[in-house]
């Protein structure tokens, strides 16, 4: 039995090659893929901006930056989930041929999409410049906000990977589910601009904490409330506690499912 250090190193190497190969398959090679990573969130941002400013006629503080604070972290969550839905079936040829830790497959979906996400993050300083919002020391809160985003994306990746092989026909529905989560969170309109019962209920959605913590760190220039970081982290921990034992049981069955 190899020692803990050797096992960690092996897991890291497996994670790296799974993510690298995934990126080559999904996004191709070369610098053009960075353009795609930038254009996807910019396109979503543009559509939402038109919807909010022109169609609905709603304003607010630096509305483009406010929407970017939701669209950008959501991009990591949505793409990780989409990736994870296909993560097992796309790797069927190695799953039926080789023994390796399958627990790393959903984690590699997050790793792949995190690389793409680093390019996506460039949208935020662009919007800050456009709206003349100067960064403050609160920008450091972006680190825990990013960690909470990644943890929540990882927690969704495990059930998504299982749903992708258990019910492949439900993959489009799973995508719609995540988009619905975006719209029942303060994605297009900041929480401070929402009133009544809706405002009280929205924090139940873990995305609310994520979006608002990005806004606090980047737009409002103050520290996020503790619940904004802890809610998505708690949801992620709960989901992982429930799904990891299930995935552990299923990993030895994956060859039957995709073979």
């Amino acid at each position: 039995m190899p020692g803990l250090g050797a096992r960690i190193r092996r897991s890291w190497d497996v994670l790296v090659v799974l993510a690298r190969s995934d990126m080559q398959v999904r996004y191709g090679r070369g610098t053009f893929r960075i353009l795609k990573w930038l254009l996807d969130p910019l396109a979503a941002l543009g559509i939402y901006l038109v919807l909010i400013s022109l169609v609905l006629g709603r304003g607010g503080t630096a509305v483009g930056l406010s929407i970017a604070c939701a669209v950008v972290p959501f991009q990591l969550i949505a793409t990780t989930m989409q990736n994870a839905l296909q993560s097992v079936s796309l790797r069927s040829s190695i799953i039926v041929n080789m023994s390796f830790p399958r627990m790393l497959i959903p984690a590699s979906s997050l790793a792949t999409e995190t690389v793409a996400f680093t390019a996506t993050l460039a949208v935020i300083p662009v919007m800050m410049v456009i709206y003349g919002v100067a960064p403050t020391a609160a920008v450091l809160w972006l680190i825990p906000a990013l960690l909470a985003t990644a943890a929540f994306a990882l927690a969704l990746a495990y059930p998504a990977a299982l749903i992708g092989v258990w019910y492949p026909e439900l993959q489009p529905f799973a995508g719609s589910f995540v988009r619905t989560m975006f719209f029942i969170a303060p994605g297009l309109v900041a929480l401070e601009d929402i009133t009544g019962t809706t405002r009280d209920l929205l924090p139940l959605n873990p995305l609310t904490g994520i979006f608002e913590s990005f806004r606090d760190a980047l737009l409002y220039g103050h520290a996020p409330a503790a619940w904004q970081i802890l809610a998505p982290l708690g949801a992620a921990a709960l989901l992982l506690a429930l799904i990891l034992p299930v995935f552990r049981r299923e990993e030895s069955q994956l060859a039957k499912l995709v073979g």
């Binding site: 190969s21 040829s93 190695i94 080789m98 039957k256 499912l257 073979g259």
Partner: protein, 247 residues
């Protein structure tokens, strides 16, 4: 392998049901890919596995490779495994030969650093030339098998598992695979090869195993096993027997 059984359960639509899924979907049918399989392969042995399509050959090799766990019984495999459980198994079609080498080398047990240092060895051994840097979907079946086999060699396995590999290879590369298998056997390793190219299997494996419906139907010297499997084709059996004597 002691009393090994691998069970496949299906729902009413014929979809595979796993133990977890059986809590959600009703099991309507079951089939045993392997049942009551007792098999011991000693160091220095090579086993040629034959049988009709669906007889359990691939399932048995997958259990040996650790890809599938038995639902019954126990499977103990002691050694470093190199598996090619289909021509080009594991090879990603959209990746180049080089990218596949990095992926498969690490999954097979090498570190990332070791794999990167030895990628040129794979390029050389696979004899893919410029195609090594092209996507694998442009390869022929034989080229994919060469790539997969060249990667296996990186890990210097003590147990070599081959499933229907010979069928896709040209004569030159087939001879290399056979030589490599014999080398592993001579060094005290184990080779288990399954397929329908009985001549190639016989050259690599003196011992044979016939599977039928997931059960062992015959086991023993390869020519005898083939005579049980194909009694209506005595010419094949005589040729195989002559091959063993010649070899």
């Amino acid at each position: 392998m002691d009393n090994v059984g691998v069970r496949f359960e299906f729902d009413r639509l014929g979809r595979v049901i796993t133990p977890v899924l059986s809590h959600i979907r009703r099991v309507k049918a079951e089939a045993w890919g392997l049942r009551h399989l007792d098999l011991h392969v000693e160091p220095g042995e090579a086993l040629g596995v034959v049988g009709r399509t669906g007889s359990g050959k691939t399932t048995m090799l997958r259990v040996m490779a650790g890809v599938m766990l038995p639902d019954e019984g126990t499977a103990d495999v002691d050694g470093t495994i190199g598996s090619l459980l289909a021509t080009g198994a594991g090879v990603g079609m959209l990746l180049t030969g080089r990218e596949n080498t990095e992926l498969l080398g690490v999954l097979a047990g090498l570190t990332l650093e070791e794999t990167r240092e030895r990628i040129d060895e794979v390029a050389e051994r696979s004899k893919l030339g410029d195609a090594f840097d092209r996507p694998v979907h442009t390869y022929s079946e034989g080229m994919r098998a060469r790539l997969g086999f060249a990667v296996i060699q990186l890990t210097e396995p003590s147990i070599l598992l081959l499933d229907e590999v010979f069928e896709a290879l040209d004569h030159e590369f087939r001879a290399k695979v056979e030589d490599y298998g014999r080398g592993i056997r001579d060094r005290g390793g184990i080779v288990v090869a399954a397929g329908h190219d009985h001549t190639a299997l016989e050259r690599i494996a003196p011992r044979g195993l016939l599977l039928e419906g997931g059960h062992v139907k015959a086991e023993g010297p390869f020519a005898e096993v083939i005579s049980t499997y194909l009694p209506e084709r005595p010419d094949d059996v005589e040729r195989l027997g002559a091959g063993i004597e010649d070899g």
